[in-house]
């Protein structure tokens, strides 16, 4: 239950000549929910993109013990790393059903037969999507698109699900429901979660562990409970603004 699913050691990432992540160590165990916190610009998105291999890095990275450093983004996705990007990346002109189906197309041959049941399970996890299955995704509300994006990533049966800023642009109540669902997803879909969020409180509520990034470095890491009192976090954010 607690073998390392993802292990990153001394990870460095750059955009052009600008180094954005400086020697990051990060680990996610199987069945774990990890909250990745930090102010805007701390490097959370870059770190997620480094893990899903759409950004080039130096350093080591292993998925279930296999080095994935030279892999392409598509290959990594097929190996079980799901990534719900910031802004959701919905295919706006495709229908809800098509978006979900697309998620399932990356599965391995053995998994493909269970695609139908998984689709039903996605609709069970997010009932509102079932009502909208024929609608163009662009017509959905922000919260619904977020659910769609997560459902789509789940269709690939990921072992590790990366979610970037799920609460972005969502009303507080919708966000709360979403995070409750995320907690359930870990068990119902047997996947680990690494959630990058500016909203510390909600993510800490469901996380097992937390990692705080500041200026491209790990400022603090440990069990989520130890961060819940807020002081450590406030210091780590360096006044960079937690959103209300």
């Amino acid at each position: 239950m607690s073998e390392a699913l993802l292990e990153a050691r001394r990870l460095v990432a750059r955009y052009g000549s600008v180094e954005v992540l400086h020697e990051i160590d990060l680990g996610v165990a199987a069945g774990e929910i990890v909250a990745l916190l930090g102010a805007n610009g701390a490097g959370k998105t870059t770190l997620l993109r480094a893990i899903s291999r759409v950004v080039s890095t130096r350093g080591e990275m292993e998925l279930a013990g296999v080095s994935i450093v030279g892999w392409s983004g598509a290959r990594t996705a097929r190996a079980g790393v799901g990534h719900v990007p910031e802004g959701r990346g919905t295919f706006l002109d495709l229908t809800v059903a098509e978006n979900l189906r697309l998620g399932g197309l990356a599965r391995t041959r053995e998994q493909r037969s269970s695609a139908r049941t998984d689709l039903d399970q996605v609709y069970a996890t997010f009932p509102v999507l079932a009502d909208m299955r024929r609608r163009a995704a662009g017509l959905l509300s922000g919260g619904q698109q977020q659910m769609l994006a997560i459902g789509r990533a789940l269709m690939a049966r990921p072992r590790l699900l990366l979610i970037d800023e799920p609460s972005l642009g969502l009303a507080p109540m919708v966000t709360r429901q979403l995070f409750d669902t995320l907690a359930r997803i870990r068990d119902e879909w047997a996947t680990s979660l690494l959630i990058a969020e500016q909203n510390a409180r909600l993510s800490l509520h469901i996380a097992d562990r937390a990692v705080i990034l500041t200026g491209g470095r790990v400022a603090a890491a440990g069990p989520a409970a130890s961060f819940r009192d807020g002081d450590v976090i406030k210091r780590a954010y360096l006044g960079g603004g937690t959103r209300k």
Binding site: S52, V54, S72, G73, A74, R75, A77, R78, G82, H83, P85, G89, T90, F91, L92, D93, L94, E98, R101, L102, G103, L105, A106, R152, A153, A156
Partner: protein, 293 residues
């Protein structure tokens, strides 16, 4: 009145050829984000390939099938070797590359087959059909059916198959598609392959009428570009609709507008396109293109 209907019918006939080329242009545009000025020459090359097979005694539909497959492979090759190298370089180099291809393919065809016009056999025979005072040649009817069939098949491919779903996804949002495990390069090649295949059908159907020369598709390509712009290159249906409208406009202008006879009639479709685009920049059925960051 019958005369007008006849002109409309003839315009529809030629319009479908422009529509096919425009469809090819649209597929490439949606996938790679560029206008392929060489689409016409690629199609003409397919026609020459078919002719070579026919002269070697291969039955028509087999020859066409083979040529379509070879064209698809050629399209994929062009994407992989030439277009991929300019990935991210911007619109201008891609456009220039397609212009270079236009020049190069035209030159190769002129060298290998000379510019002498060649008769291209039609599998539909020489018959003439009449109904309600309107005439259509067997060639026209046959090509109409063939092209409509190809378009229907393409529509089915894009809208009902998982291949089509992947193609549409990669075209719409390549970053998201990657995150879902779709290899972008693979599907770009596939898009070019399909476009080349579609173009091949258009050329083979048009060749008996236009007579086969290396420059056969120069003007049709221009009309197809106008058609795509008019109908909206971001919509496959729009491109085809545009093609038909352009074909009809071209025909009607040539027949009814004094001074615009023969090749000069091409001015009318362009004028029409300019007007439509001034009113609806994305074309009749197009969507405004979101810039991919």
């Amino acid at each position: 009145m019958t005369e007008l209907l006849q002109q409309l019918l003839d315009g529809l006939s030629s319009g479908l050829v422009y529509g096919m080329l425009a469809l090819a242009l649209s597929v490439v545009f949606q996938g790679t984000g560029m206008l392929n000025f060489a689409q016409g020459e690629m199609a003409t090359l397919s026609a020459y390939a078919t002719l070579v097979l026919l002269l070697a005694g291969v039955p028509f539909w087999v020859a066409l099938g083979l040529a379509v497959l070879v064209s698809a492979a050629g399209g994929a090759l062009i994407e992989r070797v030439l277009v991929r190298r300019l990935e991210g370089a911007g619109e201008l180099p891609l456009l220039t590359m397609s212009v270079a291809l236009l020049l190069g393919l035209n030159a190769v065809m002129s060298i290998v087959w000379t510019t002498d016009p060649r008769t291209f056999p039609s599998p539909f025979g020489d018959g003439l059909m009449e109904a309600a005072g309107l005439r259509m040649t067997a060639q026209q009817v046959g090509s109409l059916i063939t092209l409509v069939a190809v378009m229907a098949a393409t529509a089915l491919l894009f809208n009902r198959t998982s291949v089509g779903l992947r193609l549409r996804a990669v075209a719409q949002n390549p970053a998201s598609a990657t995150l879902l495990g779709q290899h972008q390069g693979r599907w770009l090649m596939a898009g070019w392959a399909i476009a080349a295949a579609v173009g091949a059908f258009g050329a083979v159907v048009a060749a008996p009428v236009l007579t086969l020369t290396p420059g056969m598709m120069t003007f049709p390509l221009l009309l197809a570009l106008a058609a795509g712009t008019l109908g909206g290159l971001s919509s496959r249906v729009g491109a085809v609709v545009g093609g038909v409208l352009i074909g009809v406009a071209n025909n009607l202008a040539g027949r009814y507008v004094p001074g615009l006879d023969g090749d000069l009639a091409i001015v009318a479709p362009f004028a029409l396109t300019a007007v439509v685009v001034a009113l609806r920049p994305a074309g009749l059925l197009g969507r405004t293109r979101t810039v991919r960051v």
